[in-house]
Amino acid sequence: MNPVPDNTPADEFQIHPLSGAAARPGTRLSAPLAAEVAATLAAGPEGGAAVRSVDLRVPLLEKNDILAERNRGYFLGRGLATLNLVSSPGAGKTTLLERTLDEFGRQTRCAVVVGDLETDNDGRRLHRPHAPVAQITTGGTCHLDAAMIARAVESLDLEGVRVLFIENVGNLVCPASFDLGEQVRVVLLSCTEGEDKPLKYPPIFKSADLVLLTKVDVADVLGFSRELACANIRRIAPQARLIPLSTRSGEGVAEWYDFLRTLTPQR
């Protein structure tokens, strides 16, 4: 047992700066206790705590939402159709965009902004003389945000560009909360992921304008039920257009290009 002096002189006590409570030197009140003591000390003569309650309504993503609206206005003003492509890692976003630039991109000028946690591999895969590409490496951030898009777009030569593809970081959760100012949100679900993905990640599917069921060429080999996957997508995302496709076999790709054409009416 430590010897505790029972006759400690009063001047060895200090006043706690936050709560005003007396304490021995070196004694730190825990934050909740300090708060409680401070509230008690602040109590009025009737004992009612002088705690003020302030009601407000601050959107937590206000900054992003404002920047997203600014991006949207900019894209609209330029007559630029913008698509935000979101999926789990490896669902086939870059592969689809490569083919799209090689085919659709020959008639209609396209540009790409691609986000990854690390490496510029996807940016290099997408590099084409006829299509400007900007790579964003987020350095660990699990989603793109509107500010990143605004900066990346500044570095692109958008002269004559009609369609801007934004390949988001492979992630089905975080991108759901971040509006980039896109016109169309495209969610990709690949046949290697299981039919129940939409039921497991509802917010992102609920925010989709278009769902692409990708890699349908391997569905049979994997015992993946296209019918069940499509039914699940329709139940969770009845607002979305649904196109099953395979970039490898080409199935559904023409329908994807038709969809893109509806976004870029001839002027």
């Binding site: 936050l18 825990s30 934050a31 909740p32 300090a34 708060a35 401070a38 509230a39 602040a42 705590a49 002088a50 705690v51 003020r52 309650s53 302030v54 009601d55 407000l56 309504r57 601050v58 959107p59 937590l60 993503l61 206000e62 900054k63 951030t141 699990c142 989603h143 959760v173 975080c174 759901a176 909360s177 971040f178 039921l199 509802p202 917010p203 992102i204 609920k206 925010s207 329709r234 139940r235 969770i236 995302a237 009845p238 607002q239 979305a240």
Partner: protein, 114 residues
């Protein structure tokens, strides 16, 4: 895990308000989080302790009010509240709805301080 960034933005607003009111301590913070916001309340609570550490909001109570989704039925124009789950079936006519009218909220709504 984008909850840390979201919590940082919430606490920035809280501390701004606390300073504006000359408060010395924040006791309670109330957030409204929609069922479709894409944000996990548990991750928010974890981020809260980290982000408030060493600030006027350290030790405050974090209250999270969940906001259920509401949807509008395109077939019969009924607006309905979704009790649970993510398949929005109109209680009046049984049609599926994807027209979301509420549930994406992500807001700071009350601060108690002294």
């Amino acid at each position: 895990m984008h909850e840390v960034g979201i919590m940082e933005s919430a606490i920035d607003s809280v501390l701004h308000q606390a300073r504006a009111h000359g408060a010395r301590q924040v006791h309670r913070i109330v957030l409204r989080i929609g069922a479709l916001s894409g944000v996990e309340p548990e991750s928010l609570r974890f981020a809260f302790d980290v982000v408030t550490n060493g600030t006027l909001a350290a030790g405050a109570v974090l209250e999270i009010e969940s906001v259920p989704a509401r949807a509008l039925c395109a077939a019969c124009a009924e607006e309905f509240s979704v009790e649970s789950g993510f398949i929005y079936t109109c209680p009046r006519c049984g049609a599926l709805s994807g027209d979301i009218r509420q549930g994406r909220e992500l807001e700071l709504t009350r601060i108690e301080m002294s």
